[in-house]
Symmetry: D2
Subunit: 282 residues, 4 copies
């Protein structure tokens, strides 16, 4: 079994300090949390941006500031910028994080319901954003809330816009979408092409159980306060505590933890692109 | 194994006469097609409305006219009106067919991509439409394009808005959503509560293969020109030919065909409500 | 989807004329049934031998006689000899049909319960018989009654005794072993390596439903009186009627039927070995 | 999710001191290991007997001695005696442990291959042993190496010989039988009737990964030196270390551990039968 890649979804668009005071909001907080999580074993960081009022933003200056501080404190990690829609529906604005040339960016390849909203990613938008991935050479992480999103990604691949091997992240347990069960996780992991890699992001109470299942199934794991704010024992979570827990479970089962460079190899990331983003931060 | 319920999706919102000249558009054409299909073995009819230019409409007068002619020519069949969004996004307009008190109406419990569009059914709309089903006592057919839609239906059931036993229709093979494979069909059929009933509507080339699988799996079948315009041999389909094919396949495998009243019993439809709609047609 | 290979298990070891008068027993009856079934669309014939009292036998002269008559009447078909144990437990006797150099022979790669018996195929016997397949170059059809038998076959492959691409036949619905459900069929079809081919042999009432499922899943089909004696309508089956039914169902769903040579190509059978057995028949 | 029942298969029939010096052989060693494991969180103990030369035996005096010492040191635990065949094929001898009236006894409901042998449990033997379970009122743990064994158990249930709710133990990863994958575990857990309980016994390297999967799937866990002799880090296992590991993993994921009496309730064991065996030990 390959070594385990641990991704952290640090901040997201929804959590507030009121919900959990440990959610990192400022570039400073985010970078420090990356450092802590990297020390614990995480290697891939899914990064959102918040404005001065902690509201989600697609302001590219905020993304730059987040990345600048992360790269200062944890130059070895893989940065994955979010293209999520909660922060704004403007196509160009959603694509801008990709154009900064991070090693990876997230890409939800379809539409579904989430609490209170339709998470809209129309067929036309998918072709647009896939085009941006294609032009920039940034590797997408395909965010899969429903089975059809896998096939939409494969359609974009057939059109030559995104390129195998694909990396999928199965987001399970979000109200409105596919529930967080091992059955659903297995089903999705069997629905992707051979040669793909996958991780799971369990939402809420599903986070640790599904991460645990992924560890013994040979998948990879995403945890973090974007997805879940509470430890299994009911105490408030922190990103670092979640990573530490995953590392302990992996060790108990004999699964080794991937270093950043091992993760790059598993994900077929070109090491030469590791710091491309640095030239886009001013 | 229970007897097989054959549903026909006669017209839909997308097909045109140019695509297949046999698509019934006018009330007259629709009713005559119902009669032919009922003679062949179909019992449940999923009905859309078109305007004088063959464009989809939610105009309630059109629905009334369709039903009036159907009830004239085929008084025994079960009428299921569409609440689909291709014909308009207005909540009230989409709910109006339910308020006519047909025996059933369709209800897609979530959002997904379809060719060229996001098929939007927001969490708020779902609660609204479920409320209309609850008030009117009309039985919904839960249209499932993705797994999460099952769970959204169960959420509405837990809120007391829709009531078990639920009837699900798995719509598989539509570009943008869950592909039309036996694996996906089995997976969905295992994801609904015990006591539920289900049918499959395979889109395009998936129509006959998935219908065939459902026949031997104990599910029910929806066919029709809304879903597929071509026979497996490449010739233009008609609604009646599709029904005749399903009946032949069922007979070959030893599955019996349900009469309208047997279908009502299998679907737990109250026979006393069979003709409620007649008082709403003037 | 590949063309459909139809296999007929003509006689088996258990059925008697008292159970169904159409079971072919003598070489003459068997060969005539092959001819009828081949005319109807079958291409692969799974052949057992019976003695003069209709009892199962591993007497190699009987096998020769059966093959001689089959090759007379239907020289184009693929002959697959049985190595089943109902006719005797002697290792050499079970291997002798393989040594006649038919194009194929059956190979059950594990032990399970069948009505009234343990069907014993010990690990030691498996290595012995795999060795005979290896020496003779005969292609085995791996008969799978339980999941572990797939893995036993892969173990023999890793030992270099049998060679990919493997052809599996899933025997489902025999009392004592894995039941005849679409779920089980899908599960097994997902448990074999990419590049393998598979067919299903449903036992008893499962025969036609599982064959139907295989037709739309892209698998192949085995029918015949060895597996089932009754048509879905309750009338006595004949081998030819079963084949005719499969052909009709395949045609209804748009699946084409493979000719003997197309089957040889799908199964990776060397055409040069087609008539090797003829030199061993005296 | 229910609390987790931890079963220990302490000794088995195959392991030797040479393979792992911690395998408990004598009644004294076995009872001390039970005490250690019970202190760590285990509640159900699957007990075999060995003779003075550490060879497996069905000698009922050995079983009595084992139970006497266990009950002395750990009166609270649930004792489950083995009826396995490695120690002898005599039907009566295999049934004798059941007749001692332990709270549970194991019952493999079918035949399969294991390393070097056919594990024979013929249809006739199954009816015989089920009859003994029926007469004695002892609860069987159905040991499932292959899917068909579930259905054989249900057949015995329909004959009125064993009684729901059934408890199944899925033994996965033994060479010759079903491999130790999460897919296989999920498949089996979906193949048992609602209301059943299940645990998994992963063999060899599959032990901890499958136990981990079961923890997050809501199943129960069997570990122990009968099934696996090595910790995931490659060091020699002990029964207590394996239990401690399971308890740590369960705690990490938020799953609570069942006490002996909680386990009795989950398994529908009659508390009044807890010490019936004590009157049969002299
Ligand atoms: Zn995000
Ligand atoms: Zn419709
Ligand atoms: Zn045979
Ligand atoms: Zn044992």
């Amino acid at each position: 079994m390959e070594k385990l890649i641990i991704t952290v979804a640090l901040t997201g668009n929804v959590p507030t300090k009121a919900m959990n005071p440990h959610v990192p909001m400022t570039p400073e907080e985010i970078a420090r949390d990356v450092r802590r999580c990297a020390d614990a074993g995480a290697v891939l960081f899914h990064v959102h941006a918040r404005d001065d009022n902690q509201r989600p933003t697609l302001d590219v200056r905020r993304f730059k500031e987040n990345v600048r501080r992360i790269k200062d404190l944890a130059p070895e990690v893989i940065v994955q910028l979010s293209t999520g829609a909660r922060a704004g529906k403007d196509w160009e604005a959603r694509a801008n994080p990709v154009r900064l040339l991070p090693e990876m960016a997230s890409f939800t390849t379809g539409s579904n319901n989430l609490p209170g909203i339709v998470y809209e990613n129309s067929p036309q938008f998918l072709e647009f954003l896939a085009g941006v991935f294609n032009e920039t050479g940034v590797k997408p992480e395909i965010e899969v809330f429903e089975t059809g999103m896998i096939n939409n990604a494969l359609y974009l691949q057939r059109k030559g816009l995104i390129h195998p091997p694909l990396h999928f992240d199965f987001v399970l347990g979000a109200p409105g979408s596919m529930p967080g069960t091992v059955k659903n996780l297995l089903f999705l992991s069997e629905s992707i092409p051979p040669g793909s890699t996958w991780s799971v992001a369990g939402i809420g109470k599903a986070e640790i159980p599904l991460a645990t299942a992924a560890i013994v199934m040979g998948g990879h794991v995403r945890v973090g306060l974007e997805d879940n704010l509470v430890m299994p024992d009911g105490s408030p979570a922190t990103n670092a505590k979640l990573v530490e827990k995953i590392v302990r479970i992996a060790r108990e089962t004999g699964r080794e933890i991937a270093s950043p460079d091992e993760a790059r190899r598993i994900l077929s990331l070109d090491p030469a692109r590791k710091d491309l983003i640095l030239s886009n931060l001013d």
